[in-house]
Amino acid sequence: MKIPYFCCIGAELKRYAKDFDFMNQVYLYKVPADDTIEEVLAQDYFQAVADTVLQDDIVYIYEPTTEMLYTCHFNKQNGHITAEQMSNNIPSLTPDKILISDATGHITAGDVSLDYIKNQLLAKVNIDGSSIMTGPLKFKAGSFSGAIAGGLGDGISIYKLKADGSIDSEVASLTKTNGFTPGTTNAQNIGSPTLKWKDAHVARVIAAVLNNGYDIAVPVTNGPDTLALKSEVDTAANSGRMITDQGVWYAKMYSASTVPTGAEYDGTNYADFSQTDGDGNPVIKIYTGASGAWTLTDTITPPAEYDGYVPITSKIWDIVEQTNQQGGRILWNHQSKEFTPYPNIVDLSKVATTDMDNLTSTGQNISNWSSNVSNCITNIPQDIKLELSAGTLTLKAGSKLYMPNGVDTFDVITVASDLTIDGGSGSFSGSGTLYYHYTNSSLAWYASSADSSGTTPPSTSNFYNTSTNTVYRYRNDVQGAQLSFPLAHITVTNDVITSIDQVFNGFGYIGSTVFVLPGVKGLIPNGRNADGTLKNKYSYNSTTVKTITPTNGARCICLSPYSAYADAPLANDFYYDKTKNMNCRTSDGVQREYAVCGTFTQTNSGITNFTVKTVFHALDYNDTEYIPHQAMPSGRGIDLTLGASGASYTAPADGYIYLNKTASAVNQIITIINDDNGMRVSDTSVTASGWIATYLPVSKGQSIRITYTAGGTTNTFQFIYANGAQ
């Protein structure tokens, strides 16, 4: 049997090859005329064809004498080829013609010229854009067989093939939807330690683990050719391009293991994100370079979240301030422990357009315009309604009172009808505390000096037992009536109630214990929004009464957003940072999520100077009576310690320094000097034993110096608070 021609597609047989120059790897072969099909098969013509791992039935052999068509099959296991008769009912072929099958394997033309074959092949595989290859492109390199296939989703995929040509696994894909993605997650690299890609230009990189969890050694030279990590921000900074019309912030990052040297060392920072606090929560350790060493200068507890992220202060990065800029921001995500540095221009001069229509004189409904208000009380329920008329005190019907009545139990008493009380009899003058007498459902007042709290009642007292959560009147060690929390402080003059001094709505105290009543709300400062407006956490003191019995010291009354608890930290343990809009711990600057509601002083004899902020309300410039009043001396003062002549003092608030001494001779003098502005006042004795006194207005924090020659006793040395000062 003679075999005049056969066609092989996709092989690289060089033997007997007749190359078509229009297409790689497509050849037409002519078998010597005297070869039989058995000889062809035996002579291994198709061995290389098998190596290409082509599809079965790709080669057809026509025997013109019998007009029989044979299909050659590859045995991929042994590389042998067998021929199978397909049909004997096909048109005659001339020696220059060959049969070719269509995609289904059927003979579609019986008389095909070589030009026809050429054109058919061009139509199937031309890659000049005039035709599209629809089938997978399979290939083999050494022991690896693979394929590139399109039409899967909206892109192409690269596959590893099994020995039989079927799909083993997907290596990677490039699709419009998912981009260039690996076939399996977290298993394949881009580049290798020895073969690296040069530059990567990406908009954003999010990595589950950076550098396999090890430190990233980042070159510290801020030259354009040596930056290993370069952000759009850095590019902008180096180029001087403005990211926004407000200007540019940029940040440089230093690794925890690579220590910068030289000029870039001192004053720079790096942040270690790998550490946790005692509770396992992430903290950020900030190190500052100074004098040749890295020193831990700050520990930041990432504050509460905002849209899953929290802003981190500029301490984490070496933020380089550009002209006229106000701040930068880096985002930290608690859950994923990822941070995203990017410039976020905060222009503090901006004031958001806010809806002031909801503003009322009592500060209600301010939550929706609070972007300009922070660190204040927004609501204090006015549950206690008192009136004083002609010495008679009236608690109005509808007033709501709280009576501690066992551990964690507070009875709420609503007064059904007006209750009255007068100054009684007994020649009493002084401060009194008003209570609700639970047994008699009436009012009662007792000398405030008898108010106390703790676990052991004094012999005669109005005593809040912090263990049992009860208030009882004791007299000569005998427990008497059960009382409510104090309602108010009053002044009684010769058995006549002459004034209501302080009503305990929202906040009050008894002895050494402060109580905060339900319904108090406040805005807890929590940074700034992107437009520079104030950001708050809305505090709500839940529905329960909170009590605090702190140790001695000058303290603040604070509300916290979490679990609605109240706290009484020392006043100098934290401060309000106006720029950040945060209350921060003095020792380390870490945010304290407090709304500061008031101040008091805890002493061995109980609470004094109990002052609660009023509910926020806007200041009207036209209120010319109120505004100057804030700078005038109040009735509140603290005794200062007079040092030797020439000693210096620091003003604790806005107010007045007042000194009154007795002279021991004529012409003795006292002088108060404000060293910050040079103002001074003096008084001189004109007699040998008279009083000399003077005062000087001062602002908070100003340095004051006092000189004196007056040799007599010091009668008064006080700081008098201005009305508007805390």
Partner: protein, 117 residues
């Protein structure tokens, strides 16, 4: 008692260790002395035994100020009376004023003694 220290000087001596407003460096307890053992001298507190005696010039200056304030008015009064008619009553008043003046002078000298005396 407690000593309030600033720049290595005792700027206050107190019965308690509570200091308000005054700028200081440290507070030290002194169990050997009382506040009465200290006195001010040149802007600091020193043990009275450590305070140097005033010089004659310093005491003289203080006496002069005291004379101006305390005895000069009496002397002026005496001079005015002596310019008028010397009735027995006036003479008696002058003598009384002189006695008062001399008492004050003695008191001033006692208040500001010269160490040499």
């Amino acid at each position: 008692m407690y000593k309030v220290i600033k720049d290595n000087k005792i700027i206050a001596v107190l019965e308690t260790n509570t200091v308000v407003g005054l700028n200081y460096d440290t507070i030290e307890q002194d169990t050997e002395h009382t506040t009465a053992d200290y006195d001010q001298y040149n802007g600091e507190y020193l043990l009275k035994s450590k305070i140097p005696a005033p010089t004659k010039e310093e005491q003289s200056a203080k006496r002069e100020q005291a004379y101006i304030a305390e005895t000069d008015p009496i002397q002026t009064h005496i001079d005015r009376l002596k310019d008028g008619e010397q009735t027995p009553e006036i003479i008696a008043e002058i003598e009384a004023l002189r006695a008062e003046r001399d008492e004050k002078i003695a008191a001033i000298k006692e208040r500001y003694p010269y160490t040499e005396e």
